[in-house]
C-alpha cells in the first residue's frame, strides 16, 4: 500500500516506469527477426531477396502479436506508399467517424448548461467537428491502415533523394536556358541561368579571395592570374601581352611588413597587450614556415567572415522588423544548429563547383545562422526605453536602427562576430575537402600522413589566427574617439605614418636579405618569406612522444580497448540495433510526453518518424548508440571536473581557458593520436568525440555552480550544512537547469564529432554522408542524411530545452 502511495505521489515516475515496461516488452517481441536486425544490413537485404515480407496483413499481424511476435512493419517501418490516400466508406469506418465526432463534441455537450438549446446554439461547431470526424474516419484511418497492413507498392519516400537530385539537375542544366558564347567550339551553347548565376557568385567570391591573397602572398603575379580569369572568357591574353612590363614582376609584401603592421594595429586598437599577441602570432606563423598557407587561410576568412556578419545582421534586422520573416527563418536556424557540415558540401559542389570560393560559400552558409540568431536576440533585448529615447531624440527609422538599436545590441552582435570567426576557422579544414587552400588543406595532408607534430603546429596556427582576429575585431568595435585632443596632422596620423615608415624599412630589409642569405640557404630570403618546410619545427619532439606512447603503452591500451569493445560497445550497439522501430518510438515519445506533454511527444515522434521512413534507420541507430555513449561519458567527466575546479578560483580560470582553447582547436586534430593508439575502431571515434564533447558540460557546470546566488550559500552555511551537503542539496539542484544546457551543447558537439568520426571508419550516418561527398554526390541523399542527423540533434535539443525551461520557471531563475 505504501508503494502505491509512493507512486501516486510521483506521477512522472510512474509514467516513466510504464514507458520502460512497455519498451522492454516490445524489445522482447522481435523473435523471428532478432538475428536479422542486429546486423545492420540483414533485414533490408532479406526483404529485397524476398526471404521475409516487409509487411503483413491485419489479421496476420494480430495473430503474430498474440504469439508474442511483432509483425515486420513494426520492427522496421517499411517503404511506404507515402502519399497514397485511401478512402473507405464501409460500415466500420463510418462508425469510427461517428465515434470521433462524438468524442470531439462530448466536452462541449457535457459542459453546456441548457442541454435542450445546445443543438441550436452550437450548430456551427457540430458541423465543423462532424466534418473533421468524417475526414479522420473515412480518410486518415483507412490510409494509416493501408500504410501498415495493406499491400506494399513502390515506395515514394525512399525516392525523395532521387527526386531532389533530378530536380537540382534540372535546375542547373535545363531550366531557363540562355545561349552563351563558348570560345572553344566557337559557337553559342545553351546554359542554365541558375548555373550561370551560381557560377557568377562563386567567381565574385573567388575574385575577392584572390585579391586579398595576392596582396598578402602573391604580389602582382596573382593580379595577373586574376586578369586571366577574364581573358579566359574573352580570349584576351593579358599575361602574355604584359609579360615584360615591370609591374608583372612586383613581389608580394614581405612577412616582416605584415608582422610589424600587426604590432602597430594591435597597439592602436587597444594597447601593448594586444600588440604583443598579434605581433608574436605573426612571428609564430612565419618562423614555423606556415606563412603561405596561413595567409591563404586568412584571405579566405577575411572574405567569408565579413560576408557572414553582413548577411547575419541583415537577416537579423529583417527578422526583428517582421514577424513573418522571423517565423519563416526560425526553422532553418534550428536545423542549421545541428545540420552536419559535410551534408552542406554536396549541394555546394553541385551548384558552385570546387575551389576556394566553394569553401567560402560553405563557410558562409555555416557561419551565418548563429550571427542571425545573436543579432535577433540582441535587438530583442534592447530595452524599450532606449528605443523610446531614440525616437524622442528625433531619429528616423534608419537612424533608430543604425545609431540606437544595433549599437545598443552590440554585446550580442559582437558575440556573434566572435562566433563567425570561430566558425570560419573551424570550417577551414572541412572546406579543404572541396578545394579550399591553406592551413586546413595542409592539416588534412598531415593527418593523412599521420604526422602528429605537424598537425599540432598547424592547429596552433589556426587557433592563433582565430584568437587574434577575434581580439582585433572586438577592440575595433570598442574603440572610442577623443573629442578633446586638438592634434596636428602628424599626431593624429602617427600610427599610419609609422606603418609607412616600417613598410619601407621592411622592404629595404628584405632587399638586403638577398645578399645576407645569398650563399647560406640555396637562395632563400628569410626576410622575405620563410617557405614551407624551411621553418623551425617541433615535429620530432611530438613524434618522439607519440612513438614513446605507442611503443610503451600499446599493450595496455590494447587490453583496455578490447575489453571496452567486447564488453561494452559491441553489446550496446547490438542492443540499439535490436530495438524494433515501435519500441524506439514508445521510448522517445514516452519521454517526450513526460517532459513536455502531448506536444513534445508529437514533435519528437515526427523527428523520429522522418528518420524511420528513410532507408537509413539502422545507420541512425548506430549514430544514436555512439552519441549516447559519448554523451554519458562526457557529461560524467565534465560535471565532475567542473564541480571540482569550481572550488578554487584559479582552477576555475584555468579550466575555462582550457575549454576555450580546446574549442577553437580544429576538431580533426583529435583524430590522429587516437587512431595511433586505438586503431581503426569505434573506440577511437568515441574517444575523439568525448575529448571534444566534454567541453560544454565542464564549462556549463562551472558557470552554473558559480552563478548560484551568494546569499543562498550563506543561508546554507548558517543552517550548518557541510560542504558536501551544500553541494548536493543547494548548489547542484540550482545549477542543474544550466548544466542541462551544457548537456544539450554536449549532444550537439558529440553529434558533430561522431559524423567527422566517419574519417576513422564508422558505419553510421556520417559514413553515408562521406560516401555521398566522395562519390561526386547525390544532392537529395546528402540533404536527407543531413536532416536525419539534424533531427536526432533537434529531438534531444527539444526535450532538454523544454525540461530546462520548465525547471527554471519552477525555481524562479530568470
Amino acid at each position: 500500500m505504501n508503494f502505491i502511495n509512493y507512486l501516486s505521489e510521483r506521477p512522472k515516475l510512474t509514467q516513466f516506469g510504464i514507458v520502460l515496461i512497455v519498451f522492454f516488452i516490445l524489445m522482447s517481441m522481435t523473435g523471428l527477426y532478432h538475428d536479422l536486425i542486429v546486423e545492420r544490413h540483414l533485414f533490408a537485404k532479406s526483404i529485397v531477396k524476398g526471404e521475409i515480407q516487409s509487411s503483413v496483413g491485419f489479421a496476420e499481424s494480430m495473430s503474430m502479436i498474440l504469439n508474442w511476435q511483432l509483425p515486420p512493419q513494426l520492427v522496421r517501418i517499411p517503404e511506404l506508399t507515402f502519399y497514397h490516400p485511401v478512402i473507405n466508406t464501409s460500415a466500420t469506418y463510418v462508425l469510427i467517424a461517428l465515434l470521433v465526432t462524438a468524442g470531439l463534441l462530448y466536452k462541449s455537450f457535457a459542459e453546456s448548461v441548457n442541454k435542450s438549446q445546445w443543438l441550436r446554439v452550437n450548430w456551427f461547431q457540430i458541423i465543423s467537428k462532424g466534418f473533421v470526424g468524417i475526414i479522420v474516419g473515412l480518410l486518415f484511418i483507412p490510409t494509416l491502415y493501408n500504410w501498415f497492413f495493406g499491400e506494399v507498392t513502390r515506395s515514394t519516400f525512399w525516392e525523395i533523394p532521387m527526386m531532389l537530385q533530378d530536380f537540382s539537375q534540372y535546375l542547373i542544366f535545363e531550366f531557363w536556358l540562355t545561349p552563351v558564347y563558348d570560345p572553344e567550339i566557337e559557337d553559342y551553347e545553351d546554359y542554365g541561368r541558375v548555373r550561370l548565376f551560381t557560377r557568377a557568385i562563386g567567381a565574385t567570391l573567388l575574385f575577392l579571395i584572390n585579391l586579398v591573397r595576392e596582396l598578402l602572398i602573391g604580389g602582382f603575379e596573382t593580379v595577373v592570374s586574376l586578369a586571366n580569369v577574364f581573358s579566359d572568357q574573352s580570349g584576351w591574353d593579358w599575361l602574355n601581352e604584359n609579360k615584360d612590363k615591370w609591374y608583372s614582376s612586383v613581389p608580394a609584401i614581405p612577412w616582416t611588413v605584415l608582422t610589424a603592421g600587426a604590432f602597430i594595429l594591435g597597439y592602436k586598437l587597444q594597447g601593448v597587450g594586444l600588440s604583443i599577441l598579434a605581433g608574436f602570432s605573426c612571428i609564430y606563423l612565419a618562423v614555423f614556415g606556415q606563412w603561405e598557407p596561413a595567409m591563404q587561410t586568412l584571405s579566405f576568412v577575411l572574405v567569408a567572415a565579413p560576408v557572414s556578419v553582413l548577411f547575419g545582421v541583415i537577416w537579423g534586422v529583417l527578422a526583428y522588423k517582421s514577424r513573418t520573416v522571423e517565423r519563416v527563418i526560425t526553422p532553418f536556424l534550428l536545423v542549421a544548429q545541428t545540420f552536419p557540415h559535410f551534408a552542406y558540401l554536396v549541394p555546394i559542389i553541385v551548384f558552385f563547383g570546387i575551389g576556394d570560393h566553394a569553401g567560402a560559400i560553405a563557410t558562409i552558409i555555416f557561419a551565418t545562422p548563429p550571427m542571425i540568431r545573436l543579432t535577433l536576440l540582441g535587438l530583442k533585448r534592447v530595452s524599450p526605453e532606449v528605443l523610446d529615447a531614440g525616437r524622442m531624440s528625433g531619429c528616423h527609422n534608419y537612424q533608430l536602427m543604425f545609431k540606437v538599436l544595433i549599437p545598443t545590441a552590440r554585446r550580442d552582435i559582437l558575440i556573434g562576430v566572435n562566433q563567425v570567426i570561430m566558425q570560419c576557422l573551424a570550417m577551414a579544414v572541412i572546406a579543404s575537402f572541396i578545394g579550399a587552400m591553406g592551413l586546413g588543406f595542409n592539416l588534412l595532408l598531415a593527418l593523412n600522413q599521420l604526422r602528429v607534430g605537424q598537425a599540432l603546429e598547424l592547429g596552433v596556427c589556426i587557433v592563433l589566427i582565430a584568437v587574434v582576429l577575434d581580439k582585433l575585431s572586438l577592440a575595433w568595435a570598442n574603440k572610442q574617439t577623443d573629442y578633446f585632443a586638438d592634434l596636428s596632422f602628424v599626431e593624429r596620423n602617427k600610427t599610419a605614418l609609422l606603418f609607412v615608415a616600417v613598410f619601407f624599412a621592411a622592404l629595404l630589409f628584405a632587399w638586403f636579405g638577398n645578399w645576407v642569405f645569398a650563399d647560406t640557404a640555396k637562395g632563400i630570403n628569410y626576410f622575405y618569406l620563410i617557405p614551407h618546410n624551411k621553418g623551425i619545427t617541433t615535429e620530432p619532439f611530438w613524434q618522439a612522444g607519440v612513438d614513446y606512447m605507442v611503443s610503451n603503452w600499446r599493450a595496455d591500451i590494447k587490453i583496455f580497448n578490447e575489453w571496452l569493445l567486447v564488453e561494452v560497445l559491441m553489446p550496446m550497439k547490438a542492443s540499439y540495433l535490436a530495438m524494433p522501430a515501435i519500441a524506439t518510438f514508445v521510448l522517445t515519445m514516452g519521454v517526450g510526453y513526460i517532459i513536455g506533454g502531448i506536444r513534445s511527444a508529437i514533435i519528437v515522434g515526427s523527428f523520429m518518424l522522418f528518420i524511420a521512413l528513410t532507408p537509413w534507420w539502422e545507420r541512425a541507430l548506430i549514430t544514436m548508440y555512439m552519441l549516447t555513449f559519448a554523451v554519458i561519458v562526457s557529461v560524467f567527466i565534465g560535471t565532475i571536473v567542473g564541480a571540482i575546479c569550481v572550488q578554487n578560483k584559479r582552477a576555475t580560470k584555468f579550466i575555462l581557458l582550457v575549454c576555450d582553447t580546446f574549442q577553437t582547436f580544429p576538431s580533426f586534430i583529435y583524430l590522429i593520436p587516437v587512431i595511433m593508439l586505438f586503431g581503426v575502431t569505434d573506440t577511437s571515434v568515441l574517444i575523439a568525440v568525448i575529448v571534444y564533447a566534454v567541453i560544454p558540460p565542464t564549462r556549463y557546470t562551472v558557470e552554473g555552480l558559480r552563478n548560484v546566488p551568494e546569499s543562498l550559500l550563506d543561508a546554507a552555511d548558517m543552517s550548518g550544512t557541510t560542504k558536501l551537503q551544500r553541494m548536493f542539496k543547494i548548489e547542484f539542484p540550482l545549477a542543474f537547469p544550466h548544466i542541462m544546457l551544457g548537456v544539450n551543447q554536449c549532444v550537439v558537439f558529440a553529434l558533430f564529432m561522431v559524423i567527422i568520426g566517419a574519417f576513422i571508419g564508422t558505419e553510421d550516418l556520417g559514413q553515408e554522408i562521406m560516401q555521398q561527398l566522395f562519390s561526386g554526390g547525390n544532392i537529395g541523399s546528402g540533404l536527407m542524411l543531413g536532416l536525419c542527423v539534424a533531427f536526432i540533434g533537434l529531438a534531444v535539443d527539444h526535450l532538454i530545452q523544454t525540461w530546462a525551461t520548465k525547471r527554471r520557471k519552477l525555481l524562479g531563475i530568470d
Partner: protein
C-alpha cells in the same frame, strides 16, 4: 495671443490596448467602463483625458503603477498613438501629423527623460548628450560644443568621457536630463525620472530639477508615483486611477478639497503646512486695529512662517505681491492647520 494659447491641450484622449479597441470604443459612445473592455480582452490605458498645460507651467501626473499615467505621457509624446481624441501641441494637431512633421517636432520642441535613464551604452556622457543634436544633422563640432555646455549645466564637468556604466544612478539621470535639454526644447517630458534613485539622491535631484526649472522655465509634464514628489514640484497635479483623471488641481486644493475618496486617501497623511499657503488660512481684515509688526506674504508656505506667527500673540497682516495688506492671519488658524486634522478630539467631535 500666444501666451494665452495652451502649449499642450488634450481633448478627450483615449488609449485602449487590444485588438478591436477602436471598434469597441465607437460602440461605447464615449462611456468607457474598464470592466466591460477587460472582458473583451482589451486594457484601458487612458480613459477620457482632457486638460491643458500653459506655457511655463509644470503639470505633474500622479498615479500608482497601472494607472495609465505613463501611457498618457506616451500618447502626448506620440510614442504610442492615442486610440481616440485629439492632442494639440501649440495649437497643432499631434494626432494627424505625418512622421516627418513628428520627427521635426521631436528634434526641436520636445525633450524626454526616462525612468531607467535609457542612455546609449556604447556612447560616452558627451556623445550621449550630443546624440539628439547629431541626429538632427548638426556638425560634430557644434554638437560636442553644446554638449559640453550641458555637462556644465547639470554639474557633470570632468566626467565627459565616462561611459554610462561607470556612473552612479544619479549621475546617469543627470546625463539623461542633459540629453533631453540639449536641443533646447519648449516642452519637457519626464517619465518617473527619479523613481529609480535612492531617497537621498532623489531629494538632491529634485532640488537640482527645481533649480534648472527656475533657470529654464520650460513647459513640463512630469509623471511620478510619489505623491510627496508631486506636491514638492507641481504647479498643478493630475491624479490618475484606472486611466481616469480623478482630480486636476493645485496641490493646495487637492489637499484641502479632495474630489474623490481615492484622492482623499493620498492626502490624509500629508502635512498641511507643507502644502498650504498663508492665503488659504487668512481672513479678511476686520475691525481690529491691533496688528502685529510682523508681515507675511500671502504666497508663503505655512510651514515656513508658522513659528513666527505663533510666537506673536496678535494677528499678523498678510501682504500680496504689491505689498498691500489683503488680510490677516490668526495663530489659532495656523494651530488648526498644524495639529487640527490629526487630533482625536476633532475627529470625535
Amino acid at each position: 495671443m500666444s501666451d494665452q494659447q495652451p502649449v499642450i491641450k488634450c481633448d478627450s484622449v483615449y488609449k485602449i490596448f487590444g485588438k478591436d479597441a477602436e471598434k469597441m470604443l465607437q460602440n461605447a459612445n464615449g462611456k468607457v467602463v474598464a470592466e466591460e473592455f477587460q472582458k473583451a480582452g482589451c486594457v484601458v490605458g487612458v480613459n477620457n483625458a482632457s486638460f491643458e498645460v500653459k506655457k511655463g507651467e509644470m503639470l505633474v501626473v500622479m498615479g500608482l503603477s497601472g494607472s495609465g499615467k505613463s501611457t498618457l505621457l506616451r500618447c502626448i509624446s506620440r510614442l504610442t498613438d492615442a486610440t481616440a481624441g485629439n492632442i494639440y501641441i501649440e495649437g497643432e494637431d499631434l494626432t494627424s501629423m505625418s512622421d516627418k512633421e513628428l520627427i521635426g517636432l521631436r528634434r526641436n520642441k520636445m525633450g524626454m527623460v526616462f525612468q531607467s535613464f535609457a542612455l546609449l551604452p556604447h556612447k560616452t556622457v558627451l556623445e550621449n548628450i550630443a546624440f539628439p543634436l547629431q541626429v538632427k544633422g548638426n556638425s560634430t563640432k557644434d554638437s560636442i560644443q553644446r554638449a559640453k555646455e550641458m555637462v556644465d549645466l547639470v554639474g557633470l564637468t570632468g566626467r565627459e568621457n565616462y561611459f554610462p556604466r561607470e556612473l552612479s544612478g544619479g549621475q546617469q539621470q543627470r546625463v539623461g536630463i542633459a540629453r533631453s535639454l540639449a536641443v533646447e526644447p519648449d516642452i519637457w517630458f519626464l517619465d518617473e525620472p527619479f523613481s529609480a534613485l535612492d531617497p537621498l539622491i532623489r531629494k538632491e535631484m529634485q532640488d537640482e530639477f527645481l533649480r534648472l526649472q527656475g533657470v529654464l522655465n520650460k513647459t513640463i509634464l512630469f509623471v511620478t508615483h510619489d505623491f510627496d514628489e508631486a506636491l514638492r514640484l507641481a504647479d498643478r497635479i493630475a491624479i490618475m486611477k484606472d486611466g481616469i483623471i480623478e482630480q486636476l488641481d493645485t496641490p493646495a486644493n487637492i489637499v484641502l478639497n479632495p474630489a474623490t475618496e481615492y484622492v482623499r486617501k493620498f492626502t490624509e497623511d500629508v502635512p498641511r503646512e507643507k502644502v498650504l499657503k498663508i492665503k488659504s488660512v487668512m481672513e479678511p481684515v476686520g475691525d481690529e486695529k491691533d496688528f502685529s509688526d510682523l508681515r507675511v506674504s500671502e504666497d508663503a508656505l505655512i510651514e515656513t512662517v508658522a513659528e513666527a506667527v505663533l510666537g506673536d500673540p496678535k494677528s499678523v497682516p498678510v501682504l500680496n505681491a504689491n505689498d498691500d495688506i489683503v488680510g490677516v492671519v490668526h495663530s489659532s488658524k495656523v494651530i488648526h492647520v498644524l495639529f487640527g486634522e490629526n487630533s482625536t478630539l476633532e475627529s470625535n467631535a
